[in-house]
Every structure is written in structure tokens, then in C-alpha cells.
Subunit: 257 residues, 2 copies
DNA sequence: GTGTGTGAACTTGTTCACAGCG
DNA sequence: CGCTGTGAACAAGTTCACACAC
């Protein structure tokens, strides 16, 4: 196969993606498909970058070129947020960023808990993405007594057992699970009990959650195996296929051509 | 929306997923859609786990329940590899694992290079997934002189400038980019020049690659923003939606219901 | 009877192509 | 005339439902 770009995620592990509960209730402009939701952050980032170049108006064609995708897709995605473009010129950068933020819920700060402070948990805690504008790491937990008490990023690692206490002193929205696979389900259960409704799981394990709780998986093993698949194809067949881009986090596609 | 499960990836960032170059050439049994490729590693892992429970025959229903998905999907996916099931009983675990390995190219070891040995690069180098059976980290590079020479996992960090030399002494297949975003494109260019045909990019940046090179993205920022989207929906609307599971690495879906 | 393999229906996502606004 | 917004065509992915093999 020629490598093309994939879109991403790769590992859709799941099930049950019902779109209920959500249907128009005044607030939501329109139903936004998941495929679009996943692309909005990329558009947002590119708009920021264009801004640094001094551009204040950006066309779907420019965004599409920068994101390596089809302009019609960009327009369709953006039109789901409302009709913000100006025919003949394009979209006003600042206004569009504001609208994307509104759609993504980036008009507030979400409290995040990270459970499992090994190498990966630490890397995430130090990431600007986690410590950024809209997300605040309110707790870093681990069951290992040797790790408890250590300073990481701007805080200290606390015992996993304190989760309940932390949850009663302040609301928690997102839980990041960077523990070994064998305890991931138990950790997830306790996070859900603590009020977390969104889980980002790095452990290679399918997690059971009650309805209403969202789970997204980031699985490095799957990523590598997907690459192995395309790489072995390329070697089996002649060279020069055309691979493109795939995305894990939902970005990218399989090496198509 | 009720949280459902998503499938994942979330961030499909890409483009160009052409399926050329690949079409049937004797070796490939049949065309395997990307959606299936991404799920094969999960089936493989679940089969391993069932094996530990002593089961030697597994039905699509069992796999589906464990993976939180539809049994018909499991059967359709597996049937693309060939007709390995036995009607009335199910699939022979060991044989099926072998067939999945064959399809995924896990019958050999792929040389991996990691560029950017900050927290994340180190976490990956220490990961069993990277140091596992089918992947071998043959080089850990960084441009920072302070990091060069440090021991990580089973090796030592070398200067990024040595990439070319390393590539001429042994073939490289997969490149992992865990550098800051501003140098990611340059690093990718050099990896491609060194013969790498698959890139796993953690930097929040769209990467340009020539045809034939596959890029998959893992973007934590996108993951968090996708969670923010569904979380803010849930709060805007009544509670109790039904979210499910989404996958980043391609596993999971949007919180549907 | 049990569970696979698969055509057909359906749903989701992408691309085209063009009407129409600025 | 340029670029958005969008219906309509298309492609990909999922689920159903059932014939058939064991």
C-alpha cells in the first residue's frame, strides 16, 4: 500500500458510542461528529501558528494545506460550529479560535488526576500540554510508597489511597491512567467512584466503565504493531508505495498511497 | 451525549491514505482495511490473556465481549486473514495468534530509533512495548550535549548527528519522534533520509513526508481537548449520558452512549 | 445446535461540485 | 471573481441476519 495518511487513532478499541443524551438542547449548535471533534484541536493549533505569521484571515485552503487534508473537509467541519467564514476572503483567525474553544469546552479549566507516576506519568506531568491553559493537574497519585513524597513538576506524589479525600475537597473531571495493566481496571473503578467522567488510559487493557463515562486509549504497543503491518507490506511488495500520514491520537491514516 | 465508546484515535490528522501499491500481489491474502489493522493488536492481546486462563478455543463472542465490541465485527476482521475458525466451536487460540502475527509482520524484529530523550523519550525507551519481542531500540538520540552519554534502559544516548552513521551500519525501520515541535520536521526529514519509512510522532506538529513514508501521530494535547469536548457537553446537558469508550491509539470512540 | 463467514442494509465519514454571498 | 457553505455522490466502516459447516 502506498502510504497515505491515516487518521489516526488507530486503535479504536471501543464500543458503544451512542449519541444520545446529547441531542440539541439549545446550547449545542449542531451535532458535531467525533471525526470532526478530533480535528478541531489541530485546526486550532494551526490557526495559532498562522497568527504568529501575522495573518488575521485564513481560508479553508490554507488550513487544509497546513493540515494535509481536503479543503472541503475543513469547511464542513467548521460549518458545524456555525457560519463564521466570510465568502471571498476566509475565516477571521481570532474569532475562529474563540469559536473552536467554545465548542471544545476550552473556556474553562479542567481538573486532571494522574495515577501511576512511573516514567510515563512523570513525562505527562511535566508536559506543557497537561500543565497548560485548560488543564490543571490537581493530583499525582501512586500506590508505591517509594514514589510517594517525591516532587514532580509543580507538585508532590501522593498515595493513591487519598483519591477519595482529594475528590471530596474538589471536583475531578479527567483521570489519566498510567499504571501497569493489571491494576488499571481497579484504578479506573476508583476514579469513576471519585467522580471522574473521562479517562485517558495508557495501560494496554480494555477498561469497563459505567455508561456516561468516556474512555480513550493511547496504546503504544498498538501503534508499533500498526507500523509493523504497513512496514512489512512495503517490504513484501516493491518499494515506492505511497504512504502518507496516519494519526494515532486520531491524526493520520494508514500508509495509503 | 452519553459516553459511549469511541474508537479512537481521535485525532485523525491526516490525509492521503491511498491504498495503492498494495493491491494483491500474491503475498497479501486480501486487502486489510486500516480499521481492522488497528484492532488486530487488541485481539492478539486478548487471545494471549485467554490462553493464560487455559482456554485453547475462543469464539468471536468471547473476544467481542472482552474487547467491548460487536461479534460480527470480530468475525469480519478475522475472516480477512483467512478462514481460520471452526463452525460450532470457534477459533484455535494458538493458531490464530500465529496468523495475526503473520498479518501484522510480527514474525520479525523491527529496528527502532528514538529521537528526543527527554521525559517522554525515556519513558518510551523503558517501556516493555518498545523493548519487547518485535521491536528493538537500536539507537536513542538527542541533540542536547547534556543528555548525550547518559544511560537509559539498556543503552546510552548518542548525538543526533550520528544518525547517518548508524543508518549506514544497520537498517532502520521505525523512527519515534519525541522532540520539541519546532525541530520535529527537521528530525523527520533526517530520519527519512536515513531510510526510515514509518514515523511515530509525539510532537504536536503536522509532518511532511515523501510518498511511501507513513506517519502516525500521538498527540496528548488533542486527547485532552477531545475529553474536554465531551466533558463540557455532559455538563451542559443533564447528567447521565451514556459515554462509552474511545480510543486514542485508535481504540475507543467518543463518549456516545 | 453452535458459531463461522459473509452478503446486504445501514451508518459514518469524505470528497465533489456548485450555488450564492461578499 | 474568490471562497464559503452544503447538497449530493461516494467511500469506509459497522451491524444485521442467515446460510452453512462442523
Amino acid at each position: 500500500m502506498a502510504p497515505g495518511e491515516t487518521d489516526a487513532s488507530g486503535l479504536t478499541a471501543d464500543v458503544d458510542v451512542t449519541e444520545e443524551g446529547v441531542r440539541e438542547q439549545g446550547v449545542s449548535p449542531r451535532r458535531i461528529p467525533q471525526a470532526t471533534v478530533v480535528r478541531l484541536p489541530t485546526y486550532r493549533r494551526l490557526l495559532e501558528e498562522f497568527g504568529r505569521s501575522g495573518l488575521s484571515t485564513i481560508s479553508s485552503e490554507m488550513l487544509a494545506a497546513a493540515a494535509h487534508m481536503n479543503a472541503a473537509k475543513v469547511r464542513k467541519d467548521l460549518s458545524l460550529l456555525g457560519s463564521f467564514g466570510t465568502r471571498g476572503s476566509g475565516y477571521d483567525r481570532d474569532f475562529l479560535i474563540g469559536q473552536i474553544d467554545l465548542a471544545l469546552g476550552l473556556d474553562r479549566v479542567w481538573p486532571v488526576v494522574i495515577v501511576g507516576m512511573g516514567n510515563l506519568g512523570r513525562a505527562l506531568a511535566n508536559s506543557t500540554r497537561f500543565a497548560g491553559q485548560n488543564f490543571e493537574v490537581v493530583a499525582m497519585l501512586d500506590a508505591d510508597p517509594d514514589l510517594v513524597g517525591q516532587e514532580v513538576a509543580n507538585g508532590v506524589i501522593r498515595p493513591f489511597g487519598e483519591l477519595g479525600a482529594i475528590a471530596s475537597s474538589r471536583p475531578l473531571a479527567i483521570g489519566v491512567v498510567t499504571t501497569p495493566a493489571d491494576v488499571a481496571q481497579d484504578v479506573a473503578d476508583q476514579l469513576v467512584a471519585a467522580g471522574v467522567h473521562s479517562l485517558l488510559v495508557f495501560a494496554p487493557r480494555v477498561i469497563d466503565v459505567p455508561r456516561g463515562v468516556m474512555v480513550r486509549y493511547v496504546d503504544l504497543g498498538i501503534e508499533l504493531q500498526v507500523m509493523s503491518f504497513y512496514q512489512s507490506r512495503r517490504e513484501r511488495q516493491g518499494e515506492d508505495h505511497d504512504m502518507a500520514v496516519l494519526g494515532s491520537v486520531g491524526l493520520a491514516g494508514p500508509p495509503g498511497d
